[in-house]
Amino acid sequence: MRIELVKRKEHSQLMAMLSPLIAVALTALAAGIIFSISGHNPLVALYKFFIEPLTQQWSFEATIDKATPLILIACGLSVCYLSNNWNIGAEGQFVIGALFGSILPVLFPSFENAATLPLMLIFGAIGGALWALVPALLKTRFNTNEILTSLMLVYVASLILDYLVRGPWRDPDGYNFPESRIFSDAATLPEVFGGAMSLSAPITVLIAIILAIVLAKTLKGFEIRVMGESPRAGGFAGFSAKGLTLFSFALAGGLAGLAGTMEVSGALNQLLPSISPGYGFTAIIVAFLGRLNPIGIIIAGFVLALSYIGGEGVQSAMGVTNEIASVIQGLLLFFVLACDTLILYRIRFVSRHGSQGEASHV
């Protein structure tokens, strides 16, 4: 007997709804088994991992804070991936964006007025976009594989940050420790909703919604999808593959740079030798978990952020190692990807002898 996949004629709406839930249930099951094996009560651990963060206001807010940069970066990446541009260097674009966004508060600290913050955000988006355009231009100009150039530039970006924070941009009053000066109030992203979250959260949701509309309703969205699925057909329609590569990279880099600036301006208030706990890489997962759809990405970003906060909770309360959280994230992604197959395909079991054995529906 062997397993065979048969393409569904129409996407099953029911499966599309159920598949993420099945994936989460399977992850919970696998996580429970791992917790038991490592000698912890699986029910308590699962509760602490998946549910407790939602029951308290502060941890709920922390989850939103953690999810925000992931969602914003993933939104940009989804446009890249939809159009078959494999940008995996968002981490570097995030860092360079943060650097550009910090030019005003670090080098011109006395420039404090209502324009400071908007200018910082614009600079940040420009910086990220410029950094992202490097692999894009190399791809369109020299046909260089963008997966690798964008990845290599991540390392370069973090070394630039390191150099600046330890050297020219070091806080003059910081006893030679590697940190920039603290940003002034005018350069700090304000909190909204009575301090419940940083302004970055509503900005991010707004951008995601706009992007969802653009993708679904506009010609540009159509172009992105067509070029992703069939560049030849897109060519006949008069779309330019190179133009779209530049566009999608610039957009993804711009959003990553914006996220970077909002992170240093809102959460950190200064530059440090390392400013991102791998947001740019985690966002790739978020983009796929959200099925490259901005609204799906909002949910996926929240779920993944939950797994971080929950992972910390389990660790602090039960002494479970940090690695378990990483294993559970990996498993979650596996299950989501595997379950998504059920949307596009039916699985049928074919017996070795049966010429056309009746397909069993799953």
Partner: protein, 354 residues
Amino acid sequence: MKSLLKATVAALAFAAAGSTAQAADVKACFIYVGPVGDFGWSYQHDQGRLAVEEHFGDKVETAYLESVPEGPDAERAIERFAREGCNVIFTTSFGYMNPTIKVAKKFPDVKFEHATGYKTADNVATYNSKFHQGRYIIGQIAAKQSKSGVAGYIASFPIPEVVSGINAFLLGAQSVNPDFKLKVVWVNTWFDPGKEADAAKALIDQGADIITQHTDSTAPLQVAQERGVHGFGQASDMVNFAKDAQYTAIIDDWAPYYIHRVQDVLDGKWESGSSWEGLAEGHVVMAPYTNLPADVVEMAKATEAKIKDGWEPFTGPITKQDGSVAAEDGVRLDDGAILGMNWYVQGVDDKLPQ
């Protein structure tokens, strides 16, 4: 679905039961920047935590979070501990400084202890150790033992602590052999065994026959062992990794400090302050001297005793690399100058990255 619901209810009950079962008088919590398994910086802090558990038994409960990146994650982790009823929270990396101060403002009743920083508050104390004292001793040993008169120094990042370590090492070496040379390689990482090993090989190939490091892995010592040269352990006693190569190691022993401070919290006597102690108080410990002739061991022990009696390795005459005088004969650098050091002493074969 029904069984899932049941499970959730059961989990809730368990969780509730768990939170009332705590009987300890004090909860001490620790935040580490690396994995506990780095066998270096974070590992040694965790050894300190375990010592606290052992010392106080049921009276003190501990918890930790490992691999917490500096930045917003750190602030959240610290805040989590503050909310979960920790009485004292040790944040063990320089980059946790501003998050610690921020969270401390919100939780005036919780005590915070930040390692290696310089900002204090009513409920935030800082602590660090005088590692440079140990570096002076190993510098002396290096100069005695080296045949080529050149040592190699694998350095992580040019922060004051690392720079003062390099200077102390060379001052120690120069006290034995004024012409001693020191080659420095910056690897721009605290922890990458492969890269550290490569750096050690490069330094040996450039003529160094003593290797020392301010990075966390045991790889450089393993290379020294393999190549038949010698070196020193970092953060923990690494003699198991290099039986014939390790002369001694500078051990970070956080246990005395942690036990002392947790005791203060238990007694209600905790006060903010800045602790910066070294060999005398046992915060820095020299591992047993091995693979050394008796006279060198004697010298090292004599220096150790001198430092314990209050002598400071950064006592003049000290000349900076550019020839200017850092300290006149007999003048001792003040703590601020050592903690913020950003210049080399004369004789370092490197230019300080700025």
